[in-house]
Symmetry: C2
Subunit: 122 residues, 2 copies
Amino acid sequence: MIPSQMLKGTLEGCVLAILRQEERYGYEISQTLERYGFGRIPEGTVYPLLLRLEKRGSIIASFRASPEGPQRKYYALTELGQKELAEFFRNYRELTGAVDQLIEMTGGHSHAQEDEAAVGGE
Amino acid sequence: MIPSQMLKGTLEGCVLAILRQEERYGYEISQTLERYGFGRIPEGTVYPLLLRLEKRGSIIASFRASPEGPQRKYYALTELGQKELAEFFRNYRELTGAVDQLIEMTGGHSHAQEDEAAVGGE
DNA sequence: TCCGCTATCTTGTTTTGCAAGGTAGGTGTC
DNA sequence: GACACCTACCTTGCAAAACAAGATAGCGGA
């Protein structure tokens, strides 16, 4: 399980990335994140995040009926959202670049699983 | 500049990684992080983080004189700290694995700079 | 004496993930 | 009709952590 602190800042960019190609609604996004390996991201996280993005103007919403259950609120990227997504990519690369360099300099480990196997856990 | 929200949780693991091979003191760690590409990490961030780790038992401190200025507080990893470092590696890989997969599935981009160049900025 | 560098720590603010819980539509079962 | 369950949305309040700002202190030089 990815610790919640480590998701901070990253989740927002990931939601923008999910909306990059097609409109999606909150409930769907929550499930999509889980499929990508983020673990269960509860609605109490996703909806406030979406409302924040909407208020800021990064995404726009439109209600549409659902074949099962209540209306769905579909979100789409605005131009601002696309710029923010591009900036997220840059920041994410900057972060992983720094961390990967640090890991390598301080004793390797960046993407292999040598001695970790012995520690076990999870 | 990496946004501070994106550093949350990650910084702690990075400090553990820095202490992996040799003892270091706070002021030094702050400068080391900058050299690795994290940008300026102010003392108001580093010292509380170190105190937190010390209280938790992840690191132990020992004062030693400095050739210039006041005493230095050197930190070293404990066994707990080493386990936490190993867990940080796992979590970091899990996070980057999920994000990289998401980025790739939603339109590539993982580590190239194609269309972003046109957006400009920074 | 005062400034600047080294070196430590504290207080309070802000952001954000999440637990918990509430509202509501639709379908099925008793 | 009453109830349960899934879908689908939202809100309130808490906790963790980065950081701005500022305090303290040793040491050297102008």
